[in-house]
Amino acid sequence: MSTRAGETITCREFVELVTDYLEGRLPESECERFEDHLALCPGCQAYVEQMRATLRALGRIPEESISPAAREELLHAFRTWKATR
C-alpha cells in the first residue's frame, strides 16, 4: 500500500506496511513516516511487538519429518538409481 508524501500515515495504513518494514523493503521516505507514526502510537507499538512475537512463535514450530520406513525406502531407491546410472 502506498501513502501520499508529507502526510501522516494512519494506523490502518501502518499495519499494511509492517511486513515491508520488517523485511527492510520500505523506501526511505515511507520508512521515516512509518517510524514517526510508531514513535507516537502505543497501539501500533503493541502491534509491531505482537508481530515480532508471532514471528518468533512461527520459528519455534517443531519440524515435521518422514517416517523412518519411508526414509529407508528412499535410500533403497537411491541405490537402485545409482546402479542404473
Binding site: 494506523c11 509492517v18 511486513t19 519429518s65
Partner: protein
C-alpha cells in the same frame, strides 16, 4: 557454470557427491530438507500418508532430474519447486473426493483481503479516521505463552486455513527460515508478490494468536 546467489558451497559439495552416487550425501539432503518438504506437502494434501508419498516422489524426481539441474537457483529451491508441482497435482486429485469445505480454499486464493480487521479502525466520522478504534493490547510474556501447546495449535490451525500460496510462503520463510529470494524461486513469484503473500499470511496468524490470548488470560 554460473551459480545463482542462493547456491552455497555446501550445496555445491553435496551436488557433486550426489552425482557421484554418494548415499551419505543423499541421506544428508533427505534429512536436511525433509522437514520443509514435509510441511509444504502437508499444506497441499489432506493427510500425512499422502504428504509422505509426495515427499518420496519428489526425491525420485530429483534423482531423475539431477543431471539437468544447472544451478541457476539453489538446490533446495529447485527441490522445493519440484515438490510444489507434485503436491499441487496430487492435491487437485485428492480434492475431487473431498467435502465442499475443502474446495472453498481454492476460491480464497486470490482474494485481496485487508490484513487488518476493518472494524478495528475508526471510520470516516471518527475522531481520528483510520486510527485504532480497538488498539491491540500488549502481550505479557509473549514467548512463554506462545510456546505452549495450545498456542502452537492455534498457529498451526491458522496456517492450515490460509490459501495455498500464503501457506507455502510462510512455511518457507518463517517456519524454515528461507530467504525471500529462495521463496520467490521455489514458487516462481516476484519479490513483491512474495511479500504480499507473506504479509497476509503473517497478519492472519497474528490475528489468530491475538484472539487466542484474549480468551486465555495470563495464568
Amino acid at each position: 557454470m554460473a551459480r545463482g546467489p542462493g547456491f552455497d558451497r555446501d550445496e555445491a559439495r553435496l551436488l557433486v557427491a550426489l552425482r557421484a552416487g554418494d548415499e551419505a550425501a543423499f541421506a544428508q539432503l533427505v534429512d536436511g530438507y525433509g522437514p520443509t518438504l514435509m510441511r509444504l506437502a502437508l499444506s497441499h494434501v489432506p493427510s500425512r500418508a499422502v504428504a509422505e508419498e509426495v515427499v518420496q516422489e519428489t526425491w525420485l524426481a530429483v534423482l531423475d532430474g539431477l543431471d539437468r539441474f544447472e544451478g541457476r537457483s539453489s538446490l533446495r529451491t529447485w527441490i522445493a519447486s519440484i515438490l510444489l508441482n507434485q503436491a499441487r497435482t496430487r492435491g487437485e486429485r485428492e480434492r475431487r473426493t473431498l467435502p465442499i469445505s475443502f474446495l472453498r480454499r481454492r476460491y480464497d486464493e486470490g482474494r485481496a483481503e485487508p490484513a487488518g480487521d476493518r472494524d478495528r479502525f475508526q471510520g470516516r466520522r471518527g475522531e481520528r479516521p483510520g486510527w485504532w478504534a480497538v488498539p491491540p493490547d500488549r502481550w505479557e510474556e509473549p514467548d512463554e505463552r506462545l510456546s505452549r501447546d495450545d498456542a502452537r495449535a492455534v498457529v498451526l490451525g491458522a496456517i492450515r486455513r490460509l490459501p495455498a500460496r500464503q501457506r507455502d510462503v510462510i512455511t518457507m520463510r518463517d517456519l524454515s527460515g528461507w530467504s525471500a529470494e529462495e521463496a520467490c524461486n521455489a514458487l516462481g513469484v516476484s519479490e513483491t508478490n512474495q511479500r504480499v503473500l507473506l504479509h497476509r499470511a503473517r497478519s492472519k496468524v497474528r490475528a489468530a494468536l491475538e484472539d487466542h490470548l484474549k480468551e486465555q488470560p495470563q495464568s
